[in-house]
Subunit: 453 residues, 2 copies
């Protein structure tokens, strides 16, 4: 029997399996659900075994456990490692859900449940693809699946887990399933994401709020100092003014700039979509270069003083700001945070004190070559699956797991998943298309076969 027939014969059963997986509220962020997280891990390991994996275990971490499944019967063939997660976002505000978040409901060809798109749907699709290939004897390589339970809380224990199990996780290629396509008709090949680091800081002037009539003019207003300090972080040309910020940034190569030009960008449509009167950014770069090829510094929050209705004539004691930077390859998150901190200290206006709090460790950027063999294989599969070649692009956001996997396991992870942008992940009524569930099974099978060639 062909693997394709094997899959199509079993779609009704597979959908029941998917429902069962979605019914377990594996919310990693909420201690009340820690038993459910354990239960989901156990269910998944068991299902991997049923799929024909020779080993599938629930392995402990200092937090939620990792599911590690292995099918490695071929000592001389390459090994592919699949990364995914079985934990889900919280599903508070049940009144905003049209059906209970952990009672999967099918509406118009979509399965509605928390975690459907992010990412139990892709984990199941991969598992079922592997099952079909194993069952029909078509799989010509070794497989490992590393499915963690803490992605939605920032994967705090995953690096340590990988370090500790490095030998066992050894592989030749990595697929990241926590990913998606551009639309139902256009596939996507992501070749990179930016890194991230962040800090927050307070400026304190007087020890308590002062009356702005009695004291205005004689003490530094922390809000004025904040404005001055934040304004000092950028130059008039839109670039970041922090000394050393661009030190490790490689200029965009002519080849890369040519490549960027091919990414579609309709300025008027984007303006409408974002609702901005005009675009604005670092001078000398195109939109996609700015978003993915250049580092940025953004204030995500800034506040102080009276913010309620009406007026209150106060000079506040303190002002606050939160900053994150997005990084490109070779920029070290710790070094960038240190440079920003030094800038704040050096440009501190008179009359206020500065306190900086660095956020938990950042993540470096990830970028891979378009001619990487796994990327090329993914491209071929996507072209066949969708009938058109994938849009090759990079993203401005950050996926710390990519650089973590590369650093610890030595290979570029290729993102290959089937989520779509409109599937309300992290929101009420999250859903996954049944067509994507089925297409995902075929897609993963085709990719594994391609990689086995």
């Amino acid at each position: 029997m062909s693997w394709k027939n094997y899959l199509s014969d079993r779609q009704a059963t597979y959908l029941e399996d998917f429902r069962a997986f979605l019914s377990i509220p594996s919310v990693s962020a909420q201690p009340a659900h820690s038993q459910d997280v354990q239960r989901a891990a156990a269910w998944l390991a068991e299902r991997f075994k049923r799929a024909g994996f020779l080993q599938a275990e629930v392995l402990p971490t200092a937090g939620h456990p990792v599911v590690l499944a292995e099918y490695c019967p071929y000592p001389d063939r390459p090994t592919v490692l699949f990364y995914g997660h079985y934990d889900v976002q919280p599903a508070d505000n049940p009144e905003r859900w049209n059906s209970p978040p952990f009672e999967p409901t099918i509406v118009d060809g979509r399965i509605v449940a928390r975690g459907a798109s992010d990412m139990k749907g892709q984990v199941m699709a991969f598992l079922l693809a592997a099952e079909a290939l194993i069952a029909t004897g078509a799989l010509g390589l070794n497989l490992k699946a590393l499915i963690e339970g803490e992605e939605e809380i920032g994967s705090p224990h995953l690096p340590e887990f990988i370090e500790r199990n490095k030998e066992r996780l050894r592989c030749d290629m990595i697929i990241n399933g926590d990913s998606g396509q551009l639309s139902e008709t256009t596939p996507l090949l992501s070749l990179g994401v930016r890194g991230i680091c962040g800090l927050e800081f307070d400026l304190t002037g007087p020890s308590h709020d002062l009356h702005s009539g009695s004291w205005g003019g004689q003490v530094q207003n922390p809000l004025h100092a904040m404005a001055e300090l934040v304004a000092s972080l950028h130059k008039p040309d839109g670039s970041v003014a922090v000394k050393g910020f661009y030190d490790d940034v490689e200029p965009l190569s002519p080849e890369l700039r040519e490549w960027y030009k091919k990414i579609p960008w309709d300025e008027e449509e984007m303006k409408r979509k974002l609702g901005v009167p005009a675009f604005y950014g670092e001078a000398g770069y195109t939109p996609w270069e700015r978003i993915t090829g250049r580092p940025t510094l953004e204030v995500n929050g800034m506040w102080g003083g009276y913010t309620g209705p009406g007026g209150m004539t106060v000079i506040p004691s303190t002002a606050h700001a939160k900053i994150t930077c997005r990084l490109v390859p070779h920029q070290d998150p710790d070094r960038i945070v240190a440079l920003v901190k030094a800038h704040l200290e050096e440009h501190l206006p008179k009359g206020v004190r500065l306190e900086v709090r660095v956020k938990e460790a950042g993540a470096p950027a990830f970028r891979m070559r378009a001619d990487h063999p796994v990327a090329q294989a993914a491209k071929e599969v996507l072209t066949e699956l969708y009938g058109v070649p994938p849009v090759e692009t990079m993203f401005g956001g950050s996926v710390p797991i990519l650089s973590t996997l590369k650093k610890l396991l030595g290979h570029d992870p290729v993102s290959f998943g089937f989520g779509l942008e409109d599937e309300l992940i992290h929101s009420p009524n999250e859903f996954f298309r049944l067509s994507s569930f089925e297409k995902g099974q075929r897609g993963y099978a085709m990719l594994l076969l391609q990689l086995a060639k």
Copy 2:
């Protein structure tokens, strides 16, 4: 009988009158108390009549009524108008009061009740002083008392009331009783306050919050624009950068600068009191000159983006700020607001839209000459009452009623009251010293006698 004996014979009864007045919860801000406000006005008019005033009426406004009392038997003698208010601040949070706010309680020589210091205590002191002088035949001038019921909500209907009753309020001298002394042992002569005007504004970039990873670098961040715009409002020397802001400001005369030098200022003590690492203000001016002699522009609130715990990688759609300016003589509040608005428009960073909301009408500054005859009389009385001459100063805050009275009635109001800074006005457990109540009666009597000379 001397007026002094008349007063001292009646202190027990007067304290009961004061208690009765304080027991009426005349909270102007709360509709639930509007009957109480009416009741306080009626009680007060009746008490003025009992004090010997020939007329005392409760006169309507579009809001709470005004009490107008008149004792004008001397066609050839001057007329003094006393300004005060009988409304009080709300007294919410009863659990923070040691005794019920409208059940006056005497503790350690202090009467604790909402409105005791601000300013039923001074209104009663003036009324009782007048009673004693009328009863003993000592008063050699005409008296008018204008006691409003909306001071704590910004006197919205008082200007219109004064306009409408200009003839009836005609006078030769004005005393403002809503005032205080420097301490129990040091009197104060206030010769001016700054004016005020304000506005608030929003900056809007994208029509909704954006992910700072996906879009950071390509759209203007309203928080960056806000920082840049707010920073543009001041020059490096601490002066206001708004074009035309100082156009109508008279340079400080050498005489005034000499006068300023006499106001006590202990820099180290003030630093400790305000808890600032250093003072900061417009270059070239002394502390008191900055606070009372020069105009300022202060941001009272500024906010946007994520302000909760942890991080959130957002580029907010909007950023907000509230601004007030303190004005010196000749600066017109409306013109200054228009100049600030023009500055914001002119310096608006790229990629954001501006919306400005002007607050309700501002107030011009008030300043009077130290050699004004009523000020001189007040100075003599205070010197006699306290045994030391008053500290002559101006204040940085704003008392809109002063410029309103001057503009509509044509005379400089002299502030002469007996509140002290520590009496918790506008806070739970407001109190008034019984010694101030008694000293106030004598003080007002002495001032009226001095003015009759």
